[in-house]
Amino acid sequence: MSNSVLSIEDLVVEPVSGGRPVVDGISISVERGEVLALIGASGSGKTTLALTALGHLRPGLRIRRGSVTLDGTEMLRAAPQTLRSLRGRTIAYIAQSAAAAFNPRLRLDAQVTEVSRVHNTRPYKEALQAAHRLYGRLDLPNPEVVGGRFPHQVSGGQLQRFMIAMGLQESPLLLVCDEPTSALDVTTQVEVLRALKQGIADNNTAALFVSHDLAVVSQIATKIAVLRAGRVIEFGTAREILDSPREAYTRELVAASKHMTIGSAGAGHIIAPSPSHAATPLLTVEKVVAGFGKVTDGAPAVTTLSDISLKLHKGEVVGVIGESGSGKSTLARVIAGLHPAAQGKIYMDGKNLADTVERRTVSERQRIQLVFQMADTALNQKHSVGRILGRVLKFFHGTSGRAREARVAELLKMVQLPPEYANRLPSQLSGGEKQRVNLARALAAEPEILICDEITSALDTIVAESIIQLVEDLSKKLRLGIIFISHDLATVSTLAQEVTVLRHGRIVESGPTQIVLSSPKDPYTQLLVSSVPQARPGWLEEAIATRNRLRHALETDVLTPVSVSEGSRSTLAVSS
């Protein structure tokens, strides 16, 4: 115990308004140089637990009992001055979204060195030099000058590394990392994970690593605590948890993390070969160019998509893969008629579609439906589920009265929800249930083409997997043509027969999923494939090696974008 940097004992945190405790009697400890991962789904209390290590509680919560001791100081009863002197120096915090955690109006140098300044540890000049050394070690470009930028002027991955630098500035004993890579693209995630792993190793810092992603955790953690509903249900070394999980929930987590790797796509999962391509495709996208701003000679001021072509047949799932800023959401909007293309054509059953939704017929609109990424914003919070679905039924099919009720129940059954959910409001549903309603809303139109735009990226692993299962069932049962857009290669690989890889608005590679993903030809696809996290040891090092090898092949420096426009685009995209 004497060696413990952090020790939490029998901690119970509950909402001020009463109700089930958020953290329910947890005891853990972190030794020097050890990385303890807290893994669990959203709502498992992992962030709340991690923040108590800093003596911080989010508004609306209170401590019922327990103790949190950091390097000999009882954090829950410490005076504000004591907490202040420990925070940033003895214990540092790395937040999930760097885009939100940096002050938009202050330069990065000022924010990174602020820790030294408020603790009065060294003169500004020395603090700045220390920061620049850290930038260099974290592989930030031009360490001497890059800190003069404002947060919006660097990319999402770079900003996350600045936050790691900010955390390491005063060489803390303990680093608390709250989902530090969850908001990042896979290729960026690899970069940030490497930086974090190195930062922790360099200083022999202990770390508390909060995540929902077992594959990510397995690369960095020495011990893992699995959290569920505010309790630690399983605890062990990283290897024990990964190789021989005891609890059913842990096994499910491990299975989900393995399912989500590409390697298993070919082996475990058999994807039906594409239906005959002789027939006229259900949907043809032909040489589409789209972007923003004034269109001159068919070229918009800012081009986000250029020369995009793809075909979709009945009963087929086409995956569109791309990272933030690749133009994949624009493609969805172009097909749905929400964003007119500057050039190119879209055909449905061989018939040319108008480029805006206003000029399409009702039946054309009914046949193409879009499922949005965020169910929270796509569903009207004030309408009941029954009303949300009923409106679509009335609009497209004129269904009303008893028939409508029956159809709503049928739709709910289709997305595996009980019929009584018709009376609920979206706020009374969980994230996964909301996404199911979101799907049902699109299905209510009885479409032939379904465009799914990142529908699983806001969900926990296990929930996401069940949604993907559902989409797969629906595509078979209803013989829908589905365009499945995602940044997550693993998801697409289990679902799609054909896949198209987008980068900077262009198609870099396309073809049958198994061929593209198992033997990618384009260096960027190779990079994407190697960046999908895997739970086996040594994956991170391999991914870094692949990345270094491919660096020269990728003509522009996408790995560390430095131009302002590139940077601000990625920063924006991170939050979307």
């Binding site: 911080h56 938009p104 202050l106 408020v118 890059v146 404002f150």
Partner: protein
Amino acid sequence: MLSFILKRVLQTAVLLLAVSVLVFIGCQILPGDVAQVALGQFATEDNVRALRLELGLDRPAYVQYLSWLAGILQGDWGQSITTKTSVATMLSERLWNTGLLALVTTIIAVPLALILGLLMAVGAGRTWDRGASIVVLGLSATPEFLIGTLAVLLFAVQLRWLPAVAYLSPGAGISQTARALFLPVLTLVIVVTAQIARMTRAIIANLLTQPFVEMAFLKGVPTRRVVGVHALINAVGPLANVVALNIAYLVSGVVVVETIFAYPGLAGLMINAVQARDLPVVQACALIFCATYVLMILLADILAHVYDPRSTAQTAEVKV
């Protein structure tokens, strides 16, 4: 950034031109004939016609407008119909009085309101904040005439410390001016402080819920620095707008306060001129009031722009 400022200044110039047209039209459609009012009920037709000719009222409206505009641009605001003196002379004295009142009020009220608002935001939800919020909300809902009248009752009638009427004579010394200004300034400070403090509290309290503020606290940054640096720097834009609107109000909207204390300011001048159908004076006052609003908002916009690194990305990029 320079191009932004240039663009906004040009826009403002166009807007001011449009305002001048509106002011002119507004005065044209005021009921009653200027010459008739000026000469009284019993003037003969011939006299009225002669005066109309003298004032140039027989010319087409657009000619009148253009000559008025050309005059203003050369600093000639025309001649008052009732006093026969130049409008510019009448304005200059009143403008100075109003300016003094607005300046003194601003110097006292703005820092007071910002500090009050910051303190309320820091203690948001606590007893101190709730108490202060009720008082401030109450004060900002209380009409100025009530505050002014109560102030007169207390300081002038009961305590007899200060004069009830704020008459400024041109040669008055500092102490006399201060005594004259005290009650109107007090009234306006209360009104303006309440407004700005409420807005400041709302803006800062909202910023304090942002993740970057939590991050700053978790870095060990002391509260006063979190509020004074991290939150305040993000509040410059909205705060500048709130302050600008209040200053514009001090210049143009203080008719009630000027009337209560018989303070010789612009608003009072305008009221008298409207009653006398003294159109040149009415037009001049209206134009000054509008211009104050437009210019204050221009200033606030430029300030907000200068303080937002996202809008000045180009300059920052050069530095890197």
